[in-house]
């Protein structure tokens, strides 16, 4: 593919550098600056949510309630999930979308730059609201207990909670608006802003992945917003949507929540699958195997993901027909997922691989995400799920799905694009140490939870009987190591931003193979305004 660009000779009078000082960031309509802010916000939330996880593992280190009361523990479980899902993974993926999609498809910026600014700045406001929800029981004595429901916010327990629940609901509203606006922006950009010749089927897989992600978010986020609004009305305005005593149905909330919640899982996963679709071919020096199959596979995954939500609630007592339907639908998800993972393996097959940090993460993801898929099929089987339901087995399963599937994919993306973003190469030796450190400690943390879960340990408990002690001790030690490894991550990022070996325009030898994006035609780092004149893809 040859590309004609005008990036290095744009000397027209409209060109200007970034504004100085705080205005550059607060008023920003530049996709790169907003992308950077998203990524730093996500990095901050990673440590915030991680600190909560460290408390959880410390409390579970041994039997007995040692550190705080059970309500505080469940509050931390709740907010760890909300922060990691809405505050970390989604903003990090959105940051990458902001930075990379316009560069990949040859657009000068996002289609709706002011909307872009709004969708970012809603996030810090929502984060503040979430922090207030944690502090509410202490700031407003007598306002009721902390939010102790878990991230699913299930009534009637969420009706019993104090004012913190109202803050949580408003935080979710703002996060939802932010996601919907960002998604509209991304879909519009992909459909309207592609450079001449950049057809849909020439787009890098990452762009396709975000296209489906954004469509999913637009479809399901309003459902969550509706559900939590109904919760708010039940709490304060005397409605009984979820109260059987008033003619309502506590199970209705579960259906609404998981109608959002299951597609949300794919919202977290798909951007990382997109990153894999770039990283694996680059370092195998060979075109992506089954590009079309991967694109259609992601489409099928998105559609199937929207019609299997009730597998999160097999134990509510649905009809035999409905339960069978949800079971078979869920098991069928293994088809697109299996196809994707196999395509990545076949991309490596007969390639010529080198093992830079992004590739190491890529290979680890294939292996560990396959494992999550296997436990996923086990959980999809209804009668067995009636035994696994709400045990640590579920916790182990979804951490295997979301940490390799989503978070490690984002790490791979960070290492893959850091040279492009900063203009400096990161320290490869430190990157590799970080990879081995996180991967090993992650497995020490979560692998034992499969066993404690099968043996019967419930999730969301502050205290457990002594038969689960060994597995929890191993898990906690692994958890502390896993948490600690992220200080190295932070160090590598700061070190790379501050300096290091100058990165070439194409830092990775194999990045031009297959369906490459246009980001590699720009210098590293790219100019503040890129593609002011549309490049032509032939």
């Amino acid at each position: 593919m040859s590309v004609a660009t005008a990036h290095d000779d744009h000397h027209d009078s409209h060109d200007h550098g970034p504004p100085k000082g705080w205005q550059r960031w607060v008023y920003s309509t530049n996709h790169k600056d907003i992308g950077t802010m998203y990524l730093f916000f996500a990095l901050f939330m990673l440590f915030f949510g991680g600190a909560m996880a460290m408390y959880i593992r410390a409390e579970l280190f041994m039997p007995g309630v040692q550190l705080a009361n059970p309500d505080f523990y469940n509050n931390m479980v709740t907010d760890h999930a909300l922060v990691m899902v809405f505050g970390m993974v989604m903003p990090a993926a959105a940051g990458m979308a902001n930075w990379m999609i316009p560069l990949m498809i040859g657009a000068p910026d996002m289609a709706l730059p002011r909307l872009n600014n709004l969708s970012f700045w809603l996030l810090p406001a929502a984060a503040l609201m979430l922090i207030l929800s944690i502090l509410a029981p202490y700031l407003f004595p007598g306002s009721g207990g902390p939010v102790n429901t878990g991230w699913t916010l299930l009534p009637p327990l969420s009706i019993q909670n104090g004012i913190g629940m109202d803050f949580t609901i408003f935080a979710i509203h703002m996060l939802g608006i932010s996601s919907i606006l960002a998604s509209i922006n991304i879909v519009t950009t992909i459909l309207n802003m592609r450079a001449p010749g950049m057809t849909m089927m020439k787009m890098p897989l990452f762009v396709w992945a975000w296209f489906f992600t954004a469509l999913l978010l637009i479809a399901v986020m309003p459902v969550l917003a509706g559900a939590v609004t109904m919760l708010l009305f039940d709490r304060h305005f005397g409605t009984s949507f979820f109260d059987a005593a008033g003619g309502g149905d506590p199970i209705l909330f579960q259906h609404l929540f998981w109608f959002f919640g299951h597609p949300e899982v794919y919202v977290l996963l798909l951007p990382s699958i997109g990153v894999l679709g770039l990283v694996i071919p680059t370092f195998a020096r060979k075109p992506l195997f089954g590009y079309k199959a991967l694109v259609y596979g992601m489409g099928v995954l998105a559609v199937l993901g929207m019609v299997v939500w009730a597998h999160h609630q097999y134990t509510i007592g649905m009809s035999l027909f409905a339960t069978n339907y949800f079971m078979i639908g869920t098991i069928l998800i293994s088809i697109p997922v299996g196809l994707m993972l196999m395509n990545f393996i076949f991309t490596m097959w007969r390639g010529s691989m080198t093992f830079e940090t992004p590739m190491l993460f890529g290979i680890a993801i294939i292996l560990m995400f396959s494992f999550a898929g296997v436990t996923g099929v086990m959980l999809a089987v209804v009668p067995a799920d009636m035994q696994y339901h709400d045990t640590m087995f579920v916790v182990a399963h979804f951490h295997y799905a979301l940490i390799p599937g989503a978070v490690f994919g984002l790490y791979a993306g960070v290492f893959y694009w850091l040279p492009k973003w900063t203009g400096h190469m990161y320290d490869e030796r430190l990157g590799k140490i970080f990879f081995w450190w996180t991967t090993i400690s992650f497995n020490i943390t979560f692998f034992p939870q499969h066993f404690s879960g099968l043996a019967g340990m419930p999730r969301r408990i502050v205290d457990y009987s002594i038969q689960y002690t060994e597995f929890n001790m191993i898990s906690s030690i692994g958890g502390f190591l896993f948490g600690l490894s992220h200080l190295l991550f932070l160090y590598i990022i700061i070190q790379t931003i501050r300096g290091g070996k100058k990165a070439p325009d194409k830092p990775w030898e194999g990045s031009q193979i297959g369906t490459p994006g246009l980001e590699w035609t720009l210098p590293s780092p790219p100019p503040f305004h890129s593609f002011t004149q549309a490049p032509v893809v032939k």
Partner: protein
């Protein structure tokens, strides 16, 4: 505990390294589903082992493929990338081949799962029906055919005790060899009564009744707990079942009925109780039912559960105090105790609360006051 099931072997091999590591510390933990003690859970256990084995085989194949690729296709060993692999016949048909293979595996799992699911939802006539009622944070069992009621509270033990968080004061007693139907419901929030050896879980929903069943094959004590987050006491509501022979079960029922009749007669007598008697009984009731929230010294948990020591209600008019205990407080975790405790119990606990921890109401509440307030 290695599973005694034949199909358990491959899975056990997979789990072995970790098992060895931890068995150094102690031997009495499990790492698989507990050994089933009922017909239905046995069927589910076999299904679980089937999916575990299938999953293990898939993981072995995937791992082998990746390991081979890592060995054979290395840049530093001079591997030359095959730029046309994706256009070979395999490249053109993999998108059909892979889904067909996966579909085959899926359907074989789904068909055996579907037949087990039909067993779970089997609604044959039961010999014994027990209503399992979850409330914050204890289990109440009502024998529908016999007018027997069992209330199970956590037995307080030290965190070093083998039965820590696994024992209750009054377990559910069930016969072996008979079909038992469980009707599951709740009085406040969602709960989930789970005893993995004998029943697949269904959640307890306030205002709804769910159903599950067991045909217990082995006598013994089976221990589970609540599996749906129900608030502060979620970790502290074990579910314990004692399965006994049908003859022993009959005997237990007779004794239990006699006990209940005696307690009911005592509670409905017109006797005026002395303060000391009520205080002693009240402390017992308080420890069992109230202490989880309001705490041992009536101090509550600030911001979550109100203190009773020095509270306006416990030191104010007795009628208000009785009213909140009998009817509860909507929108909070305070349950209505009227339907759960008899007049004597409520009179005793109210008297206890009004004269303990520095509370100075000084009055004595009699069972007849409760009857009047209902």
């Amino acid at each position: 505990m290695v599973s005694k099931n034949k199909t358990g072997l491959p899975a056990a091999l997979l789990l072995l390294p970790l098992g060895l590591l931890t068995s150094i510390a102690r031997a009495d933990y499990g790492y698989n589903l507990p050994e089933p003690a009922a017909t239905l859970t046995q069927e589910i256990f076999d299904l679980h082992m089937l999916t575990t084995v299938v999953g293990t085989v898939i993981m072995v194949i995937v791992t082998a493929m990746i390991v081979y690729a890592l060995y054979a296709y290395r840049h530093d060993k001079g591997a030359v990338p095959d730029q046309n692999f994706h256009t070979s016949w395999f490249g053109r048909w993999a998108w059909v081949l892979v889904p067909v293979i996966v579909l085959g595996i899926d359907l074989s799992i789904a068909s055996s799962a579907s037949s087990t699911l039909s067993s779970v939802e089997d609604r044959s006539k039961a010999d014994v029906t027990v209503k399992v009622i979850g409330s914050q944070w204890k289990w109440t069992y009502e024998y529908m055919d016999d007018d027997i009621k069992v209330v199970s509270n956590l037995k307080k033990l030290e965190p070093t005790d083998p039965l820590y968080l696994r024992d209750v004061d009054d377990p559910l007693v069930l016969p072996t060899g008979q079909r038992v139907r469980f009707l599951l419901t709740s009085t406040d929030v969602l709960h989930n009564w789970g005893v993995a050896e004998i029943v697949p879980k269904k959640i307890n929903i306030p205002g709804y009744i769910n159903e599950t069943w067991a045909h217990i094959t082995k006598e013994g004590t089976y221990r589970g707990q609540c599996y749906e987050n129900c608030g502060a006491g979620h970790a502290f509501m074990p579910a314990v079942v004692r399965a006994v022979s049908p003859a022993e079960y009959q005997q237990w029922k007779t004794e239990r009925k006699a006990q209940q009749a005696q307690a009911a007669a005592e509670a409905s007598s017109d006797k005026a109780w002395a303060k000391e008697e009520l205080m002693a009984k009240g402390q017992e009731i308080y420890t069992k039912n109230c202490m989880a929230c309001h705490q041992a010294q009536g101090q509550g948990i600030p911001g979550v559960f109100p203190a009773l020591a020095g509270s306006k209600i416990a030191n104010g008019a007795a009628a208000d105090h009785i009213n909140i205990v009998v009817k509860g407080k909507t929108g909070t975790a305070m349950a209505a105790w009227g339907p759960q405790l008899n007049d004597l119990d409520i009179a005793a606990v109210v008297t206890f609360e009004r004269n303990s921890w520095g509370n100075t109401a000084g009055d004595v509440v009699q069972p007849k006051d409760i009857k009047a307030a209902r």
